[in-house]
Amino acid sequence: MRLLKLTIASLAGLIATAAPLFSQAGEHAATATEAAKPGLLTVDGGLMFWTLIVFAAIFTILAKYAFPLILGAVQAREAALTKALEEARADREAAAKLLAEHQAKIEAARGEAQKFIADGRATAETMKSTMLEETRKQQAELLERAKRDIESEKSAAIAELRREAVGLAISAAGKVIEKNLDDAQNRKLVEGFLAGLKQ
């Protein structure tokens, strides 16, 4: 802070030392008409003052009514450009976020689908095996029943045949020995024979 004050003081000192030069110049200009003619390097205070005034007028008026009109479009374009860049960056970030979200969603959906497919396959497998099992069982049952039917038919046929054979034998034997033998006695005899035959 002290250094800054020192700087300002030294600048002020410089201006103060330059002031006599200005007044000299002014006096010089005032007496210029009669005596010394101004040279190439004469400092003219009045002209310096007018230069300041003219420059100040040009600066204030051009800075307000000329340059903004000409540079307005450029500055607007520059501002629009920076804004567009800013927006593009924001949009890119949002897009990246959305993409990540979507990828996560797709990943989840794929997992789910996989699960569904696996489930379906397992169900199909179990269904197939149970159906096969059932068919096999039914087949076995039918076979069993058929066997049983054949067996019973066979024994019935054997009994029928035996009875027929007994009748035929009796009638044949009766024809042979019709006279001597009464019916009851002979029957007992033949049956005894047949029993012996059976064994």
């Binding site: 800054l4 006096e27 600066f59 051009l62």
Partner: protein
Amino acid sequence: MTPNHLLKTLLLAVAFMAPGTLHAQAPAEAEKKDYIMPHVLNGHELAIPSFGHGLEREIHLPRWAPIQIGGLTLDLSPSKHVVMLWISGALCLLVMVAAARGAAKAHAAGRPAKGLAGAVEAMVLYLRNDVILPNVGHHGEKYVAYCLSAFFMVLFCNLLGLFPYMATATGNISVTATLAVLSFLVIEIAGMRALGMGYINTIVWWPRDLPFAVKAPVTLIMTPVEILGKFTKPFALAMRLFANMTAGHIAVLALVGMIFTFAQMLNYSPAAYGAALIPVALSTAIMGLEVFVSFLQAFIFMLLTAVFIGQIRESHH
């Protein structure tokens, strides 16, 4: 102007460039009239067109009583260069504001600016985008208006001086010195704003990375150099512009004066008209060069101001 008068002009032109030869050649010339220096210097007379006798007539500008501000005496009466400043300032404002409006209207209509508006727009855009902003550095927007104003004011003053009956205000050291002082203030204030306390380093040279034994003597040597450097820059700005504008005018006037030297040498014979073609061609060429120099010097004044602003804003020791 009689041929005799014009001849004297020429002699003075030669005298201005080689004073030694005048004494040797023309001791008989009793009455000498300087036509060149009054034209280049400031005065309280203004040349206006006249067709009575000769092509110009002198009018005397009003003299106002000098005003006293403290110990300062200011003569604010409109001298020749003050009037030129007014005219060129008014022209500058008129042309620039009209061009800016034209450009803005063209932009609003969605078409590129044409003619004067297009030319001024191209200049302003080029100077801002390719000269001022790259030199001033980051956030240089604040200095664009100052640099452009200085450029156009100097340009209009320079160009006005090329017209007949007009004078070049920028060929006066007081005008260029005032503009240079303004540039100096802008440069130093830019330094203070950009560097803060570091601005002191642009006055007192104090490198941090040197041992004290080296630093102390170097600072003693470099500090006056730094301070001197601050003032030589605007001094050079003022001198360059003033000298360029004055020298060009003296060259043109000297070449015109040569027409009459040749006339005298050829005893005003018809051959003198033929001989006059050489100085006419030369002065035409110099006038063309002057048009270019008018733009160039305005550009250099503005460019160096921008460069110095950029330098002081970047100077971190």
